[in-house]
Each structure stands twice: as structure tokens, then as C-alpha cells.
Amino acid sequence: MKVFVYGGSETLGEYILKQLDEKGHEAVTIVEAENRAEMLEQLGAVDVIMSEDGSFKRALAGVDAIIYIAGASPGSGGSQDALIDAEEVVRSLEEAESNGIERIVYLSPVRLDESDESKKTGGKDEPEKWIESSGFSYTIIRSVKRVGKPGYGKINLADSAGEGNDEIPFEDVAAVLVEALENANTFKQSFGMVSGDSYIKEALDSL
């Protein structure tokens, strides 16, 4: 499957590119700096496109699915209001839809461990509503804070962060996004996750 990773040059993106390659997918992504491009290619991206006018359109050519990391900055917490440009997210997704792409796995900037008020600040939950009413075969994922720790390979599906369960390793988040791509149980689903005790595939199969 040819997959465009939006936000592929972020830390989390690196893990996703690597795992896509390992699972035999072809990953495409966009970067700002040339040196960065080299590294992403070494990680396993088949096509790294330099950011410029029209690069997004080129990147989408022939793509089967999108993994969209919105506001992936790992340290950003509940207090920050302008996490993402909600309108820009919707605009780029519209562009993808008009290119005939059907499948999207969307990692939400909204975190399970935020207050209800914070979940709405800056309209960061808006794109989710738009996706749910769009024609995409979507999977929308919310998680707790994503951290640079070795992955456990296990998660729990959850609607809120539990006691002592307020973070999840990058590696595991990436594994969930990649696993979700072709797992039919995740189609047209929105769910939250924390680090837990079920193997990722089993957890997603149970949806």
C-alpha cells in the first residue's frame, strides 16, 4: 500500500516511516530541509518530497491511504491553545478527498488527559467532526501524552487517561497507526488508547 505520511518529518513520523517500510508499505512524505530528506529515506521512505508550492499535490499522486499526524509535538500539553490550524487540516484533507484517496488514519491533537475545555481550545477537535461526516474510510485515534520510551507493544482502548497511565511510547503509537491501515475493524471508528496489556493487533481486532 502506498501511504502518504503527513507530519512524517516529526519524531513520531520517523517511527511511522520505519514501521511502514518494515511492513512492506511504500511511504511518501514531505520535508523542509534536504539533510532531513536523506535521513527519512534511510528510515525507509520511498519518496521524500521537498516542501514547495504544489508539493502536496505531487505527494498525493498514486497514494492509497494517508496517515495524518496533527499537531504531533510530543511535549504540547493541555494548556496550549493554538495546537493546530484546524482549517488548514480540513483544507488538506479536502484536497486528499478530491484526489480520490479513500483511507485515512488520523492521530488527533486532542489528548485523553486534557480537560474537556482544553479539548476544544483553538478548535482542535473540529477536524475530527469533519472527517466523521466526510466520505473517508477513517480511523480517528486519540492518545495520552506521547513519549520517547521503548515500546511495550501493548495498549488498552480507553476513553480517558487512568491512574499512572498518562503516557504512551512513540513506538507503540506508530505501531497502532500502521496496524490500523489495513485492519477492517478500525474502519469508520474513533477511539482512544493508553499503554496497557493487550497486544496491539488484538486490541484493534476487538473494535
Binding site: E34, R36, M39, L43
Partner: protein
């Protein structure tokens, strides 16, 4: 029964007062009558305070009286930077620098347009799984902290930037994706636990090396599967025949070990240009097996390779080692006699032979045991020695045939970066690594009584050192050094620390005047015409 209860309190009172008094009286008369110490004869008992204070002085000064920037060989702050990098994986400082800017020293010339992080030629593809400490709460008498697993960027050089030892000269060149590694530290000088922690930590960090020191390859050096650089000193430990000659069979055996990536012939060490003396009682079965010597017998090693006293002879030996072993061969030197170094470089050019790398040990380098006169005044410090060798190699057009490894108190990224700019390709660190496994600078390495179990083979003292705890500090320290080098490179406006050059450095004197650091050689060898 009643009698005992009645007399017990007074009995205890009497003993607890009388016994110390009796002891003091005994000490008093002993001090008074002895003939060795004048101060004790004149001030019995009281004079002992002097010895106690003298004994704990270094520790007291370090903890209570020394200012942050004071203290040699390393200031309190330098020590802290290394320890924090290892333990907390943290290198940020608050408020500003504590460096004394009025003093003379090297500075990095920062670019007005530094490189962005994503413009750096770094390889962070394979992350490192390690542990770090996080402070939960710190009070005056307690610090609550916990250790947690973390995944960190290793800051490797990209493949094309990797430093290769023995490229084009030997069958198995040594590729290094990082520029910092461990300088020679023998088993025996450090205990097995320290060596094991270092071996495992360095292996986990990757892209680095572990120099065995001249005491041979111990099982402890092999414990973590780190890449080894085997050092061969004049004592030929590990590669000798029972009679003390060089053993090609033993050498071949070492060269066939997959962990051994290179050999280093030690001509000299910054802190000691002297021979070795290994006391018979220290030669245990294990040490004897590693070093290929007889257990229980004292070994004196010369301060020079007996058979190799000229460069042509030495270079022929290097050629043969490389041919037989198939791995890079380098040599470790201390620079003092510049004419002799020039002769070496000239012979390298004329014969087409020579080492794959030269390790330049600054006069400020450390050792477990030496004499004060050798430690303090023999050999030039690294920032003088290094550029001299670099410039001589360039002048004779052989710089591309040899890599330079610099050592001598380069324990923080800024110092290492300056050395890279002054001509080094790689950085050797010993004492920084000792800090990361627990060294507190007690300066008793030569006595086998190291209080933290690092530089001792004493089992009881070594119980303090937990390998599974300290190995991660070694890993974090290596990562932090590499990350710091990338930081400095970015500030200097180049995309890799391999590109830091003389033009990125400047020297400022104590009156604020600056001077370029190129052409060091010109300054020691004034033009012949100008006489």
C-alpha cells in the same frame, strides 16, 4: 539480682568515661615518646588533628570550600556536567555560564546564521533504549528521584561522514559513526565491575570504542561486546612469550577476535613517560592469564619498546602487525620533542609507511600511578601538541593517510569540539568515563583503596558499584557528548562536527585580545631567514 540492678548504672557510667580516658592517656604517652613526628612530641594527642584534617582535606575542600570553578584536575562544575549528563541525561544550565570569561581560553566562533537542527547531517535512525533518573522532589536532606526507561537519539555521524581507521591500508578497516570513545584503561587499574559497566555501556551506545589499556584484553572488557582497540605497551602484555619477547601467535589470536577492531602501540602516555612496575602480589591467576605473565612474580616493563628505537624499525613493525592482523594499527605519543615528530612525519612521507592513526596524549592526561615530576612537566598540553602534529602532517602531505585521536581532559562537548577544530578526528576520554561509573576524584587510584569501587580490585569496595546501574550512565554520557558536538557544529554554522576546523576557533587572552589559532607551528619555528 538486686545488687546488679543497683550497681549497673554506675558501672556503665564508669566504663564509658574511664575507658576513653584510659585510651587517651595511652595515646598521649605514645605520642609523647615516639621519635618520628615532631608535632606529636610537642603536642601529644592534639597534634593528631593535623593528620586527620590532612587526610580528609581534599574531600572537605571539594564539598565545602572550593568554588564551582576551582579545583584541579577537574572543577566541581566540570565533574557535575559529566555526572548529570550520565545520570539524568540532562545538560541544560540555567541563568548562564559559570566560566570565568576574563581568563584566557579558546572560544567557538559562532556563525550569525547557524544551522537548523534539521539541516544537520546526523543519523538518528536507530534509537538507543536506556535509563535516566528523574528528580521528583529535592530537599535539603533528601532527594526523591526515580529511574525510568527512555528512548534517546544516538547522534551518530551519517555513513558518508563516518571516520574510518585503516581505509585502504588493511583488510578490515574500522568504521566509526561517532567521534568519542574510551581511552586506555586496563583491567587491574580499574576493577572488573567498572570495566564491565564501561564495556556494556559503550556497546549499548554504539559508534564508539573501548581502548583496553596496556594490560591486555580481559573478559571484563569483552563483557558487553563493545568494539575494542587493543593497546600494546612496552611490556607487551597479552602478546608476549614467556621470555618477554613479542609473540606473533598471541598477536594473531587477538587479531582474530571479532571484538578487536584496531591496535594501538603505546610509545608514551601524557602522565607517565616511564616504565611499568607490577608488584608480584598483584599478579593474580587472572591477571597472569590475561597479560601472559607468571602469577605471583613481579614484572618490570621498560619505558620504551626495547627492539624498536627508530621510526623505520617501528614502521616496519607496524606494517607487519597490519599484514598479520588485517586490522588498523596506530600509535600513541606525547609531543614534546617537535623535531623528532617532524622526523617521524618525514619518514612517513618518504617510506610510504606509518600508522593508520596517531593518538596524541596531552601532558595533562591522567594515569592511575605516576611520579609528580612526570605528570606535571613532561610533554606538551593537548591544545599545543595537537595542532603541531596536524600541521606537520599537512606540511608533508600525509595528513590524509592518518587519523588523529586527541586526549587530555576533553571531558565535555565544548572541549572536545575545540580539539576537533585543532585537528583531531576523534576524541579519547578516560576520566570522564570514570566519573560516569562513579568516580568522585578521591585521587587514590594507585592505592587500591578507591572508595567508590572504580579504580580498585578490592571486592568489598567494588560492592558499591552496580554494573546494571552504571552502564546506562556510560551510554548517556556518550550520547550527550555526541549531541553536544552537533550543537557546537550547528552554532559554528557547519552541518557535522567532522567539519569543525581552525577557522571556527579563536583564542582570547586575559586582556580581551584575540588571536587566530592557525599556524601554531610557525610560532614555535620562526623563519630561518629572520635570524
Amino acid at each position: 539480682m538486686g545488687k546488679i540492678t543497683k550497681h549497673l548504672p554506675s558501672a556503665i557510667m564508669t566504663t564509658s568515661i574511664a575507658a576513653p580516658l584510659a585510651y587517651m592517656a595511652y595515646m598521649y604517652q605514645k605520642d609523647d615518646r615516639q621519635k618520628q613526628h615532631a608535632i606529636l612530641r610537642n603536642f601529644p594527642l592534639l597534634g593528631r588533628v593535623r593528620y586527620i584534617s590532612e587526610h580528609v582535606g581534599p574531600e572537605l575542600r571539594q564539598y565545602l570550600f572550593a568554588e564551582d570553578n576551582e579545583g584541579e584536575p577537574f572543577s566541581r562544575l566540570e565533574f557535575q556536567h559529566v555526572v548529570k549528563a550520565g545520570k539524568y541525561n540532562e545538560r541544560l544550565v540555567g541563568f548562564g555560564s559559570d566560566r570565568v570569561f576574563e581568563e584566557e581560553g579558546f572560544f567557538i566562533r559562532n556563525s550569525l546564521f547557524p544551522k537548523l537542527l534539521e539541516e544537520m547531517r546526523v543519523d538518528n535512525i536507530e534509537k538507543t533504549n536506556t535509563y535516566k533518573y528523574i528528580v521528583d522532589n529535592e530537599g535539603l536532606f533528601s532527594r526523591k528521584e526515580h529511574r525510568e526507561e527512555t528512548q534517546e537519539d544516538p547522534y551518530f555521524l551519517q555513513d558518508e561522514d563516518a571516520i574510518v581507521l585503516g581505509e585502504g591500508t588493511c583488510r578490515q578497516p574500522f568504521r566509526l559513526k561517532g567521534q568519542v570513545g574510551m581511552s586506555g584503561m586496563s583491567y587491574g587499574a580499574l576493577g572488573e565491575r567498572a570495566i564491565r559497566a564501561l564495556s556494556k555501556g559503550l556497546a549499548l551506545a554504539g559508534g564508539t570504542w573501548m581502548n583496553t589499556g596496556e594490560g591486555g584484553i580481559s573478559d571484563h572488557h569483552l563483557a558487553g561486546n563493545a568494539d575494542l582497540m587493543m593497546q600494546i605497551g612496552p611490556g607487551l602484555f597479552g602478546v608476549r612469550t614467556p621470555a618477554g619477547e613479542f609473540s606473533w601467535d598471541a598477536f594473531r589470536e587477538k587479531a582474530e577476535m571479532p571484538q578487536v577492531k584496531a591496535f594501538e602501540i603505546k610509545l608514551a602516555q601524557g602522565a607517565k613517560t616511564r616504565g611499568g612496575h607490577l608488584e608480584g602480589r598483584k599478579v593474580t591467576e587472572e591477571i597472569a592469564r590475561i597479560r601472559l605473565i607468571e602469577p605471583g612474580k613481579t614484572v618490570n616493563s621498560p619505558n620504551r619498546f626495547v627492539d624498536y628505537d627508530t621510526f623505520p624499525k617501528l614502521f616496519d613493525f607496524i606494517e607487519e602487525l597490519r599484514e598479520v592482523g588485517g586490522k588498523p594499527v596506530g600509535m600513541k605519543i606525547v609531543v614534546g620533542d617537535i623535531e623528532s615528530v617532524e622526523e617521524m612525519v618525514q619518514i612517513m612521507k618518504e617510506s610510504g609507511k606509518g600508522p593508520d592513526f596517531i593518538t596524541i596524549d596531552g601532558g595533562e592526561g591522567g594515569t592511575g600511578a605516576t611520579y609528580q615530576e612526570l605528570a606535571d612537566s613532561v610533554g606538551l598540553p593537548i591544545m599545543t601538541a595537537l595542532p603541531i602534529v596536524d600541521e606537520l602532517l599537512r606540511e608533508y602531505g600525509v595528513r590524509n593517510r592518518v587519523k588523529l585521536i586527541a586526549s587530555g581532559k576533553l571531558i565535555t562537548p565544548d572541549k572536545a569540539a575545540v580539539a576537533l577544530g585543532m585537528g583531531a578526528d576523534l576524541i579519547n576520554i578516560a576520566r570522564g568515563f570514570m566519573f560516569s561509573v562513579g568516580c568522585i576524584m578521591a585521587e587514590v587510584c594507585h592505592t587500591n583503596t578507591c572508595p567508590v569501587g572504580v579504580a580498585t580490585t578490592d571486592d568489598n569496595l567494588q560492592e558499591g558499584l552496580i554494573v546494571d546501574e552504571k552502564l546506562y550512565r556510560v551510554t548517556n554520557y556518550v550520547n550527550s557528548l555526541r549531541s553536544g558536538l552537533f550543537n557546537v557544529a550547528a552554532a559554528a554554522g557547519v552541518d557535522s562536527p567532522t567539519k569543525i576546523e581552525r577557522r571556527h576557533l579563536i583564542y582570547k587572552d586575559n586582556q580581551g585580545r584575540i588571536a587566530a589559532v592557525d599556524n601554531m607551528l610557525k610560532r614555535v619555528q620562526p623563519d630561518e631567514n629572520s635570524e
